[in-house]
């Protein structure tokens, strides 16, 4: 039972970190659009006839 005395504070530290991470995610706008972002990964660039060349020139 003594282990509880330091395991629980560790757990509370973890929650604190989780809350902090969650706040960061919300504040940086990650929850503003729940529909698009989850699907974006499906739109791949490797389809025939569509080279992503114009993208490479874009990003610094």
């Amino acid at each position: 039972m003594d282990s509880l005395y330091f395991l629980i504070p560790i757990a509370i530290l973890f929650i604190g970190t989780a809350v902090k991470l969650f706040f960061w995610a919300v504040n940086s706008g990650q929850y503003d659009d729940l529909e698009t972002e989850g699907r974006r990964i499906l739109f791949d660039e490797d389809a025939p006839g569509n080279t992503p060349a114009e993208e490479e020139g874009k990003d610094p």
Partner: protein, 820 residues
């Protein structure tokens, strides 16, 4: 019917139309030149993957006359300052444009827009939000002008507009983020405190070291404190507001329960006595916040589409100053200015025609579908659209004094006079709080006589046991579940009030144009008057003649445009068109006008639906063409089901013509009124309300906005004017009217479930209260009982999300449903 569907917008391709685009190696059919141009632009940009990714059909693009200067007004400095701002520190001299992009239907649209705009020189970053239909574009003003962004968006089939209401959006975003943060804190906190609580429950039943129990209480306190002080703060502020307004809303008992239970638990922890209720408080806060967040998101989503009245007016006008024309911002117009209106322009201010003759579409203001002829001396109104030829207008009223603004004031008045409905739970809350406080006081007084030591703890346990968890969750949980279910069915609910009002509705009033009908003219019938002509040739000829026309009726011929070419086109305002095809001159329009061509008497107008146009050449009449607005395919079935549910259905239209009677008959509606102005509509509605009727109004135009605001409940169509959407309680997303009877059925079920929940919550309290007053409820049992009663209420509400509407899909809609 085995007609093919347009590959771009999914509407049927009319027979004889031959537009197509090569996509992914095969020619895809297109319904109109608009879709063809948009699909062509998408494919030319190498973005044809859009058609693989998308999961809903695109919007049919509005085919406007392609004037090169259409968007240049957005480059004016006065106009830019409304929607463009510097991108901020560290990004050089980049600027950020906020655009409202109409027509975004799915995630693939976001991909398409970001890719397409991203390859314009000078555009640095594009981010599009599909749920708010907003795009933020960072661009270099030295390289690219904002008008280019507008032009490119419209080229790939979207409707761009400057997002001028940026302030309220920032507010909504902050509110949404704050709600999410609170929900996160409450959720994580609840999970942890629950874990400690399980240990404490077992400790209470099978023994626990007192040091460990104290320790667990302190850590519970540590975790529950942010939940109460941060996550539950909205309840406290709302309760305080309600108390200051001298009323008892549901927030009052909620705050009382959370506050007192927390204070008592804090006291118990600090002085190592009594009982703690941290887990109940946390879970209760979490569930309540969840319901409110769902409701808020739906409300914001509906509200975002609106930009208010200003969005209906153009940003600039062409002012004539001593022979010179110049683009000036509309805000700078003053009475006395002379303004040039080209065909297709939206009229920026009220005025009087000085030169020219044209038809003006005033449907936005009056609901009248036919063009109003205007000549020298006629009055024109801001918000209406100039039709077929140019006008010079002297401004008589601008800004706040226009007729358009008068309608807005009518809207505000209607909202003030709207019958108020107090939510059932709030009505219950009033006497419930009083009763509980009395019981607690009574218990305290009684036990003070018997056993003063226990009096405080028993009074507290009365307050905690009767914690109105289940009671206050009863309504929001059911409303949240029903709101989500309705959204899946195709009705976006903007206010929780709608679900409480719908079951009480006794009469449903439809608007005509755009609501009961598609709001778009279609070719109904062709009567050939001469041998050797086929229907196809008539369609092609008419389409060629109408190809340059801005008249609403011209849209009916859009599918066949381009099959033949006409030259020397002339518009005779209010009468018809004239032009030559392969050297032969034709006239299309009103019977007397077309027949005049050959100096013959006009033939008798045939009987039948729609507006009849005559096509004639030098040899005499060729064919009659009937054009009209058709009923939505779901209208009949919807009216039948609504009447089966015991509702009175009525048609109320601003249109003067006999069309109203005909459509009412076709849809099976017995009561109808034609030619009603916005004021008439509102007066009619208020007369009904005085007679004790509860009215659901379904409409789409600006002329419906006052009635939508004044009705007990209101639904706007997805294609409606922005203002109409923002004032309605719900938006019908897919134009399927049978969603309405389904929504009413669901609302009735949701009312049943709210009542069951309230009965359960009151029953539980009725049982627990006497036991607690007698001091018979051990606090841990009270906590478990409270949690279980809340869970029962939530689970009962969840039954709504699986609700299937009783009316089975009938044949007409069957193909639509199985198509998924």
């Amino acid at each position: 019917m085995s007609s093919t569907a347009c590959f771009h917008c999914g509407l049927p391709v009319p027979a004889g139309s031959n537009h197509s685009v090569l996509i992914g190696g095969s020619a895809r059919p297109m319904c109109c030149p608009g879709c063809e141009a948009v699909a062509g632009a998408i494919v030319a940009g190498g973005l044809d993957n859009f058609y693989r990714y998308r999961d809903s059909r695109s919007e049919r693009p509005e085919e406007a006359p392609q004037r090169t200067d259409r968007w240049t007004a957005y480059d004016l400095a006065e106009v830019q300052q409304q929607y463009v701002r510097p991108a901020g520190e560290g990004s050089g001299n980049l600027e950020l444009a906020g655009l409202l992009v109409g027509g975004i239907s799915c995630a693939a649209c976001v991909w398409l827009i970001e890719k397409h705009l991203g390859r314009i020189d000078g555009v640095e970053k594009v981010s599009v939000n599909a749920s708010t239909q907003r795009a933020q574009i960072a661009f270099d003003p030295a390289v690219v002008q904002p008008s280019r962004l507008f032009a490119e968006l419209s080229r790939i089939g979207y409707r761009p507009a400057p997002a001028t209401a940026a302030n309220s959006e920032g507010l909504i975003q902050r509110e949404q983020r704050a709600a999410l943060r609170r929900l996160g804190v409450a959720g994580l906190g609840t999970m942890q405190v629950m874990m400690f609580a399980v240990a404490l429950y077992f400790g209470a039943s099978s023994g626990i070291e007192s040091a460990l129990e104290r320790y667990l209480r302190w850590v519970s306190l540590l975790v529950a404190t942010p939940v109460v002080l941060y996550a539950a703060r909205p309840f406290f502020t709302a309760a305080w507001r309600s108390l200051r307004g001298r009323s008892l809303s549901m927030d009052v008992p909620v705050s009382l329960a959370i506050g007192l239970a927390y204070a008592a638990s804090l006291y118990a922890t600090a002085f190592d006595t009594g009982e703690v209720y941290f887990e109940s408080i946390s879970m209760f806060t979490f569930f309540l916040l969840l319901g409110r967040t769902v409701e808020m998101r739906a409300r914001h989503r509906a509200g975002l589409a609106s930009g208010g009245l200003a969005q209906l007016l153009p940003l600039t006008a062409t002012k004539i100053d001593g022979g010179e024309t110049a683009s000036v911002p509309v805000a700078a117009l003053v009475p006395g200015d002379r303004v040039l209106l080209r065909p297709g322009d939206t009229i920026p201010a009220d005025g009087e025609v000085l030169e020219g003759e044209s038809g003006v579409d005033e449907s936005l203001l009056s609901g009248e579908s036919a063009m109003r002829p205007k000549n020298i001396g006629s009055r024109v109104f801001a918000g209406s659209v100039n039709g077929d030829s140019s006008l010079v207008v002297r401004v008589t009223a601008a800004g706040q004094s226009t007729r358009l603004s008068a309608i807005e004031r009518l809207v505000e008045r209607a909202q003030l006079e709207k019958p108020r409905q107090v939510a059932l739970a709030d009505r219950v809350a009033g006497w419930f709080v009083g009763l509980v406080l009395l019981a607690a006081l009574g218990a305290f007084a009684a036990w003070w006589q018997v056993d003063p030591d226990r009096a405080f703890w028993i009074a507290l346990s009365v307050l905690v046991v009767t914690c109105p968890c289940a009671l206050s969750l009863a309504t929001p949980a059911a409303l949240a579940a029903a709101t989500l279910r309705l959204q899946q069915t195709g009705l976006l609910v903007a206010g929780g009030r709608l679900l409480e009002t719908l079951p009480r509705i006794g009469r449903l009033v439809f608007d005509k144009t755009g609501t009961l009908t598609r709001g778009e003219p279609r070719l109904l019938q062709i009567l050939l008057l001469r041998d050797g002509w086929s229907e196809q040739r008539v369609k092609d000829t008419a389409a060629a003649l109408e190809s340059r026309s801005n008249h609403p009726l011209a849209r009916a011929f859009r599918p066949w445009r381009g099959n033949l070419q006409a030259t020397g086109l002339r518009v005779h305002t209010g009468r018809g068109l004239e032009g030559a095809i392969d050297g032969e001159r034709y006239r299309l329009g009103r019977a007397d006008f077309a027949a005049q061509f050959t100096a013959q008497a006009a033939p008798e107008i045939p009987a039948g639906a729609g507006q009849w146009l005559l096509l004639a050449d030098a040899g005499g009449p060729v064919a009659w063409i009937a054009v009209g607005d058709g009923l939505r395919p779901s209208a009949n079935e919807a009216v039948r089901q609504l009447q089966a549910q015991g509702l009175q259905v009525e048609l109320l239209s601003g249109d003067q013509s006999g069309e109203v009677a005909r459509l009412a008959g076709a849809a099976g509606i017995r009561h109808f009124r034609a030619g009603a102005s916005p004021e008439d509509k509102l007066a009619h509605l208020q007369r009904l309300q005085r007679d004790g009727e509860r009215v659901l109004m379904v409409g789409d135009g600006l002329n419906d906005v006052p009635v939508l605001s004044g009705a007990d409940a209101s639904v706007a169509m997805m294609s409606a004017a922005d203002l109409a959407q923002s004032r309605a309680d719900a938006i019908l997303l897919n134009g399927d009217l049978t969603v309405l009877p389904r929504a009413i059925a669901l609302a009735r079920k949701s009312r049943r479930i709210v009542r069951q929940n309230l009965a359960w919550a009151l029953g539980y309290n009725a049982l627990a209260l006497p036991l607690a007053v007698c001091g018979l409820v051990p606090p841990w049992a009270a906590a478990i009982g409270m949690s279980i009663s809340s869970l029962v209420v939530v689970l009962n509400a969840l039954r709504l999300s699986r609700h299937h509407s009783p009316p089975p899909p009938q044949a007409g809609e069957g193909s639509y449903i199985s198509g998924h």
